[in-house]
Symmetry: C2
Subunit: 185 residues, 2 copies
């Protein structure tokens, strides 16, 4: 078959990446072999290497996948007429945590300590998310608490920092609390 249409190709890529995430969630980044991923995705090794240059490349895609997923929901909060208070925002973020993704997320933290590519992905994603939280807190300060915008932005910084810290700690606790699902081996 000649090159797949772009849509199809992207579909395959996410099919593989999602299978990889499931494997990582169960067995961790390093304990997951390409064979595991072929089994989980229903594809073959050859096929996977047609879509990803190597395992590191695939790990990066999986990391981006899980870390990005969290971003979507927050941005709309900041734009809402009645933005949530920091406490409320934190509750919603925590409620949205999925245990499997928490595990992979924490695994990427671990990996980021030695792999520069992963490190950049984690740092970028964290920064972007913090900025969104900052926007949301600022909006709350302005619209609900009636601070004036310049002051609100400054005042929001430490609050955003705290919300992020509490959220990330909760991510860690979720990963610690929920046992990895038994390997279907």
């Amino acid at each position: 078959m000649p090159r797949l249409t772009d849509a199809r190709k992207e579909l395959r890529r996410t099919q593989i990446a999602e299978a990889a995430v499931r494997c990582f969630s169960r067995n961790g980044l390093k304990r997951t072999s390409i064979a595991d991923i072929t089994a989980e995705s229903g594809l073959s090794a050859g096929s996977i290497y047609a879509h990803y240059r190597n395992k590191a490349d695939l790990v990066q895609a999986a990391a981006r996948e899980t870390l990005d997923k969290r971003d979507g929901t927050i941005s709309e909060y900041a734009a809402a007429d009645a933005p949530p208070s920091p406490d409320e925002l934190l509750s919603r973020l925590i409620a949205a945590i999925d245990p499997a993704e928490a595990r992979v997320g924490v695994q990427t933290w671990g990996e980021s300590t030695t792999d520069p590519a992963i490190r950049d992905i984690v740092a970028d994603t964290t920064d972007r998310m913090r900025a969104m939280v900052h926007d949301c807190v600022t909006a709350w300060l302005v619209k609900v608490e009636h601070h004036d915008p310049p002051h609100a932005r400054e005042f929001a910084t430490p609050i955003a920092h705290q919300v992020m810290a509490l959220y990330q700690a909760e991510l860690l606790y979720t990963a610690l609390r929920t046992p990895a699902e038994e390997t279907p081996s």
Copy 2:
């Protein structure tokens, strides 16, 4: 040589464990081979296996080593005449963070998502540290803010939770911020 005296034996164990921590800090838990550790410790593979049953055993020892080291300092704060305020306590905890240990600490978080033994170590250590922070905050509430003890203990719980979260987040940021030292390979 007949069995080493207990003190010597323990010395060797920590010699190996500390070399392992240095390797882990540089290359991560999984990328570190036994050969790396022999090079770093100056001992041989056979020797390492005389002291640790296998690599997993050694990883656990290294994890305990780094995670425990943090505990020592806090307990004395709680017993002090003028216990530090939560803000002050957090500052001191953060100031005491060592980048190399932060990296290994975050790596153990990642590992804990799939290895039950590491998971227990991390959970235990975290609980113990939280309890110490709780004691310290309670002491501050009682001695400095003049709450009465029963109320103080209850009031301290969410504060201790926040201090822990902010500390752990800082640990993560430190690990992200400081590049792993170049491998001397």
